[in-house]
Symmetry: D2
């Protein structure tokens, strides 16, 4: 069975997912697209033999659409996801699930009201081979009960419109989600340290930042967020447990010995770093839709990420330790 997919949003991420669905994944076909830029939507539609529709709602409701992928502008996500739930169609929503915790909760409630899972949120790190191997080591008890996590999220540079809040909302949100999943634990407070700023960032941007998180189980997490680190795109994650430590590996690269140096290349782009994770994420989503068993990051994960990043932003602005007030998790998401 081929899953017929409607895609809302044909910008960078949307068109990359369309290419992935059409050229990399099996079992899927893109049958309808829409975008705020109708010309762009029409071009993409023509390239992939899909219908170009006028609105997201039309995509959701189209008779040749079995499942929806939302990759539009963040503030529009909640509406389309709710539309999909209303239509009883599985929906993959790029992060964020919604731009407010309230909207995330509305989605959670709608999904619970529908009765079975329909929503998957686009936290692709859970599909990265390194993180999966790390989780396997933790689950196997190799390092014992986790006590701490040391994380690093570095970008060589960021666009001019990148703000200090985005360091939490758009960048550290990946660590927030993947650590909740790795540790199987909930985050309960946030604090942000503001080191001396790099001269390579615009003066109004607080870069780097150190986000400190605590979990219900007492695990202490530190996340260095440094988005103008210059040297490369670098993701590090070390879990420290009672019996040892486990670290995410660096991507495998040829080792050179030249000019007095032992060296290997560092990737420069997050797309290269996580290309396989994206491919697996979308393939597994397509497979799960075909099988009628949506899994992966839930609406609840999207809601929790929203509450935690809100607390992080407040902590950044206030300089204080901010408690994270996530509601009790419904049994639906257990």
């Amino acid at each position: 069975m081929t899953v017929r997919i409607g895609v809302i949003g044909t910008g960078n991420i949307g068109s990359d997912h369309i290419r992935r669905l059409a050229r990399v994944c099996t079992g899927a076909r893109v049958t309808a697209v829409t975008d705020i830029d109708a010309v762009r939507a029409a071009e993409v539609a023509a390239e992939y033999g899909a219908h170009a529709l006028g609105t997201g709602l039309e995509v959701v409701r189209h008779g040749e659409v079995d499942a929806v992928l939302v990759a539009s502008w963040g503030p529009t996500h909640a509406e389309y996801v709710l539309d999909a739930i209303a239509a009883g169609k599985p929906v993959f929503c790029e992060k964020p699930l919604a731009t407010t915790a309230e909207d995330c909760l509305r989605i959670v409630e709608a999904e619970i009201g529908y009765g079975t899972r329909l929503v998957q949120v686009g936290f692709m790190r859970r599909y990265d081979a390194g993180y999966r191997a790390l989780r396997q080591a933790l689950t196997a008890g190799t390092v014992g009960t986790p006590l701490m996590a040391h994380c690093v999220h570095r970008n060589p540079t960021v666009p001019g419109n990148y703000t200090s809040d985005m360091a939490i909302q758009d960048t550290a949100v990946h660590e927030i989600d993947v650590l909740r999943w790795l540790l199987d634990d909930e985050i309960t407070s946030a604090q942000v340290l503001t080191p001396r700023r790099t001269r390579h960032a615009r003066p109004e941007l607080q870069d780097p930042q150190i986000l400190l998180l605590e979990t219900a189980g007492g695990v202490r997490i530190d996340v260095e967020i440094f988005v103008n680190c210059r040297y490369g795109y670098d993701i590090q994650c070390q879990i420290v447990g009672e019996d040892g430590t486990a670290s995410l590996p660096d991507p495998a690269q040829p080792v050179l010995r030249t000019e007095g140096q032992l060296r290997s290349g560092i990737l420069q782009d997050w797309r290269d770093r996580f290309v396989n994770a994206y491919d697996i994420e979308i393939q597994e989503w397509v497979d799960s839709v075909a099988a009628g068993t949506v899994s992966g990051p839930t609406s609840w994960d999207g809601y929790a990420a929203s509450v935690i990043t809100d607390a992080g932003v407040e902590a950044l602005h206030s300089g204080r330790i901010v408690p994270v007030s996530i509601k009790d998790r419904p049994a639906f998401y257990a």
Copy 2:
């Protein structure tokens, strides 16, 4: 356009390629299969909605077959590849292209007679990300003109029917092909050193062996072949050039610190080690068939590998340095 593929041989490798074509690759469909075990062929055909045919020739000639994949018993390869050329259909042939250099040459001549490339040989290492990065470094001149290559090919264990000759023919053949490709150079002599045998091998098996090769350009290659090394499946390759060295990376694995050891896991199975290479190899073949531009390892590469492994086996038996007599490469394969 979907490429309709007929597969000859539904054993381990054949059925794995069928799964790959059906579930991993895009743009392909398996439409016909055959196997010496007709029951097995029928089961596979049923699973993938393909025709189960009685002979390889029927597969080659079937009207719903655009391209052929040969994964049958080695001694049958030449016949089916020649059939495919006679039918003017692209053919992917698992190594070896043929079991004698003479048969390889017959294929070469038939393909030249046909006038355009139809044959690709299944040397999957050229599709491994690590080897590709290594080749890129060499091509970029990072280490200067190559002078030496140090290679290791270790398996944890081998089946009971594995012979000393197979260490050259089935195991080192991968290094032979990938080094010809990495160095863009031809091999001109072979010698085999026979170290003390491991107690973990059957007494009649010479394990390990060290295969020494020389190229037309004067590069000296040593390949340790050790198929009962116990600890894992381990592929190493270091190119030493005038200005430095470049080494294939180990696969990325989480780094653990436990019980007094800094450690990471070593893969145990070549399928895990090269799973991505196989996926890319077959996808690129399908794409090239669809585009009418077969590329990848050629019949000539299959012929060269055959002559070189013959020399290697003679060197193993004689203890002498054996010249490799490869004919002049036709312009067709330049």
Copy 3:
């Protein structure tokens, strides 16, 4: 010229330094010793041909003593160091310089009063080859202006009398000193995070701890202190600068591939980890005494470490961010 050295305290550290002075270093001779355990002092004196004296003051004032090494119980350090200054003799004092900041200041004032440097404090990490290479990289500007430092100090286990305060006073004090030296910057605040406790520690011990420090220049430092980590003695230090990062290397150990693992050993004992640093520290001290030019960590460094560890302990107890109130550095120590 041979420097004649009097050693106060012949316990573990004292007797190890005596062995080092006699058997490893050149240019020194141990001529007088004392200890609260007179029998022990007599044994050591006999072994090395030194005078066994009744008190530290006698050692300081002895005519055959050119310089003094203080390795007695911490609370006695200040008195002996002040005695040595009063006698105008160079003195090497194991950490801590004194057990209160006030006593450290008294030593600072006495030394300034004397007019030239006499005191060196036993912060041996500044003599470790790895830290020295790290400092050289920083000084050379390889990573640009430092912005953050991520440190780890792990012991496999600690004695039963080890307390939560000691994690700051005795353990993290090494990071405090070496970071002040690496960064050439002063620490201005301290905060302590208290992760879930390991089951391998006694219940009353807060282990692990995370010490957060800020410097006058805005550098943010995190130090994980984990003294029951089980797997080994492990010191990590990464400096993150505007243009890159520099990390302390792990000690060089053979790399093994056995039983499915790529692995190397981790040291278990701080004596093994820093044995070379101790040797170099004491040799350089002896040489500097002979040359009349005492250098190395100063009284001021000992005072600063005292104020910072006091703030750290207060931060541990209060859970708050505690400012570090170090006086202005006298020109004498510039």
Copy 4:
């Protein structure tokens, strides 16, 4: 007790050993020196308070000389070592023990005639921490019975008078000795492969070379000798056993991440690489002389190295596999 040492030869190596004996080691004093350059000898004598004598024989026989260190021109070694044996004085001889196997045998016979060990040969790698840890792993059986050894000896560059023979005699001789010691096995044949020459060497120099050795126990050894490798001084050694592999570690260096590269420095000079090994070698020799129990590499090791390098040079010139004809080892050296 202080060992009074006479040093024959005050060139680069000799004067470095004199500095080491005087400033680094304990328990030794240089009391007499000589050199073919009398002015140089007088300068060194003045600096260290030693007698400047006219000949090596005078040094050996001097009443204030307990032990002799020979660091003169290679062809003179045998004479001075024989003089020392005749005088019944312990003698440390820099490699080579003698420039012919015959002279080495004369020394062996003289030492056996004297009745107890007097001679130690300067193969310093046995004192390197990495090689010692490697040997410990082998002795502990961690990798099982050795089957192969892969070695690399690379220099960034060599002086203009370096010849192709010296690649075996002066460079690979270190691997020859250390492998005999690591494997506790004797070498029985040699072969030399001659790769394409690097453009960075003078045309008449065969650089690189690959020396292939076989042992009595059937271990196969390959040693890449590449003395104009440009990028650094790099020593690699991997032992492959029945149950796994053990590799010499690279020297510990800070790890940097800058400009798109993960990198660490490679040493450029063999003096830096083996400085600690030299220090330990000489200190242990001094200690053994003081204790009357000379140990370390023997005259027999010096003889064996001589026979093996002769075979290596013959193999280089002939292109053939050359048997190594070492006499039976006398019980004296068991």
